[in-house]
């Protein structure tokens, strides 16, 4: 009976009800949309990094820190013999990383030099152009589109690379750009010079050595052997997760604000309704409803706002979001601008879990905001309610 009455009261509502519902529904839609963007962004960054950088996980030499160029001086080791079959089966690929100085068009650039097996299949970037047959004395190199662009280099252009060998002496390589590749992961591109693994090893005098090993996705990771440390995809994705988390924090501020406004509107509606409907309250009490039940009636009415808003946001949101999730959003920018792994088109990610989580975090608040004003009714004597309702 209470439910029916509450529902009627809500449905009979005029402009105020409609506005409150509208504000609520919009807030939910914006929240769902923003959250889907952040989720989609994280999912995309994760996928791209797994495809183009992380593969099925990596082994790092002890002491290797990708953010500390000095760590590269020590962080090399040979691949342990028990893993050689994996190398031959194409399940494990070596990567040697060195510091170097490039001189594109006469300018000086401090770079990371990455020696890679041109036939590697662990990541989706294609390094076979590093196998190009070139005259003796020149070494093929590949650059990411961003680096090549920044340095003004076209395919076929030459530039010099200076490296420090294991013994401490400097050597120089004459490089020719055989391919500009596209990677959505900036770390694979910016300030990276890619060389064939054997040429780099030879130039720096580190035969058989590598800095990290990439495990092909799906291959079983053998137990780590010193000085190699296993880095699972999860560990490697940690900073992406943190990045996404910090972006979400920004979103949280926005939709917390929106929710605050919606809840304020609801609170206002509730307080006003209780003030205006004293006569109805008194009548219900005179008919024999207890104060608690009248309180619940009004609480229920407020909660119905929340439920209706959830319903509307689903009704409007489902087709809209399904469409956006399918076609993607053209951001007009890409990760290049932000230095994060992203593509031009972002696919918002809607999961049942995210939607339910959103609703589940709102509804208790709706309940509180509905209950709070309604609780005042329990302090109202029936005679007072009727008397004040007459005015």
């Amino acid at each position: 009976m209470l439910f029916k009455l509450a529902l009627r009261n809500l449905l009979a509502g005029k402009t105020r009800t409609i506005l409150t519902l509208l504000v609520f529904t919009l807030t939910l839609l914006v929240t769902l949309f923003l959250r889907s963007l952040y989720d989609g962004m994280e999912a995309q960054m994760t996928t791209l990094r797994l495809q183009e950088e992380i593969a099925g996980g990596q082994y790092w030499t002890q002491g290797f820190d990708p953010f500390d160029p000095f760590s590269l001086e020590e962080a090399q080791a040979t691949t342990p013999a028990p893993w050689h079959p994996l190398l031959q089966q194409g399940k494990l690929y070596e990567l040697l990383i060195q510091n170097g100085t490039a001189y594109p068009k006469g300018r000086l650039k401090n770079v990371q030099v990455r020696g890679v097996n041109p036939q590697q299949t662990a990541i989706t970037l294609n390094f076979t152009p590093l196998q190009a047959k070139l005259p003796p004395g020149v070494t093929p190199t590949m650059l990411g589109a961003r680096a090549a662009q920044a340095w003004g280099l076209k395919v076929g252009d030459h530039f010099t690379l200076r490296l420090r060998s294991q013994t401490g002496s400097f050597t120089a390589l004459e490089l020719v750009l055989t391919r500009r590749f596209h990677s959505s992961v900036p770390q694979m591109d910016l300030n990276q010079v890619w060389l064939p693994l054997k040429d780099l090893r030879q130039a720096v005098g580190r035969p058989g050595q590598a800095t990290l090993l990439m495990l092909k996705k799906g291959a079983v990771a053998p137990p780590a052997l010193a000085p190699w440390v296993w880095m699972s995809p999860d560990q490697l994705l940690e900073d992406t997760r943190q990045l996404a988390e910090s972006k979400r924090g920004g979103g949280l501020v926005l939709y917390s604000l929106l929710f605050f406004l919606s809840l304020l509107a609801l609170f206002d509606s509730q307080a006003l309704a209780i003030f205006r409907r004293k006569q109805e309250i008194g009548t219900l009490m005179a008919l024999g409803l207890t104060q608690q039940r009248v309180t619940w009636l009004f609480t229920l009415e407020g909660c119905l706002y929340g439920l209706f808003a959830c319903g509307f946001s689903l009704l409007i949101g489902l087709p809209l979001f399904a469409y956006v999730a399918a076609t993607g959003l053209d951001l007009g920018i890409s990760g290049e601008t932000y230095g994060i792994p992203l593509q031009q088109v972002l696919y918002p990610l809607f999961t049942v879990r995210m939607v339910l989580e959103t609703y589940a975090s709102v509804l208790p608040l709706v309940f509180l905001v509905s209950y709070w004003p309604a609780a005042q009714i329990s302090r109202l004597k029936p005679a007072e309610a009727l008397r004040e309702g007459m005015r």
Binding site: M1, L5, R8, N9, A12, Q279, E280, G282, T283, M285, A286, L287, G288, L289, T290, Q291, Q292, K381, P382, A383, E384, L386, R387, M390
Partner: protein
């Protein structure tokens, strides 16, 4: 049967704090209402009629004294027990009708029976019976906003009688009605009193109402100054 006490007020005080001091809306008031009476509280505005009705109907509690209905001391009950008592035994008719605007006539009348948890079939039967008594059958599906004042008050009367309460308390039921509607309603109420044995207590300063009463209790400044029972109840008008 006439002499069976239904409702008793004993030495009742009702105090409202007004501007820092205590205002006695009712002072040391005692009286008894027997089953089957058709009585009215009369007196000037502010004499305490509504205050007394509210106390008798367990809508409020006295500051002193006791109110007994069916041998139960209402003033000693918890708020919830009082609500239950109202639900079971007491009906109200208000000057302002107080129908639920979103409910149809039928639903308004049905509400007390829902609260009593009667079966839908039984409810329907009793609502129809009440609506017939008040010649409202053709309005069963109407909303209160579509009714005239007289019709609305008849719906309120149907709602009051439908649960066969021990007592119906009516606070100035005709104050908002024209003369014709008032007489119609008063006749019906007398009929309900005589044919169904329902006990009525009014509050009024309307001469039309006073003319129908079988007992007139005059209040002045929160005290009973006259209590007159007519030996020969009016049969017709």
């Amino acid at each position: 049967m006439r002499q069976e006490p239904l409702l008793q007020a004993k030495e009742v005080d009702k105090i409202y704090p007004v501007g820092g001091h205590d205002f006695y809306a009712l002072k040391n008031l005692s009286f008894t209402l027997n089953r089957g009476e058709f009585a009215g509280l009369i007196g000037p505005s502010g004499s305490g009629k509504t205050t007394l009705l509210n106390l008798l109907g367990a809508l409020d509690t006295p500051n002193r004294g006791t109110i007994e209905l069916l041998g139960e001391k209402l003033s000693h009950l918890s708020a919830n027990k009082q609500a239950l008592f109202r639900r079971l035994h007491i009906s109200f008719i208000f000057q302002t009708y107080n129908l639920l605007p979103l409910y149809s006539v039928f639903e308004n009348v049905e509400l007390p029976l829902i609260l009593l948890k009667l079966e839908p079939k039984e409810r329907k039967k009793r609502v129809h019976e009440a609506l017939e008594w008040l010649s409202l059958m053709d309005k069963a599906q109407a909303k209160p906003s579509q009714l005239s004042g007289g019709q609305a008050q008849r719906v309120a009367i149907a709602r009051a009688m439908v649960k066969n309460p021990e007592i119906i308390l009516a606070d100035e039921p005709t104050a908002n009605l024209d003369s014709e509607a008032s007489h119609g309603i008063l006749k019906t109420l007398r009929q309900i009193n005589e044919e169904k044995g329902a006990t009525f207590l009014f509050s009024t300063h309307d001469d039309k109402v006073i003319g129908y009463l079988k007992r007139k209790i005059t209040l002045t400044d929160g005290q009973i100054v006259h209590d007159l029972s007519l030996p020969e109840p009016l049969k017709k008008r």
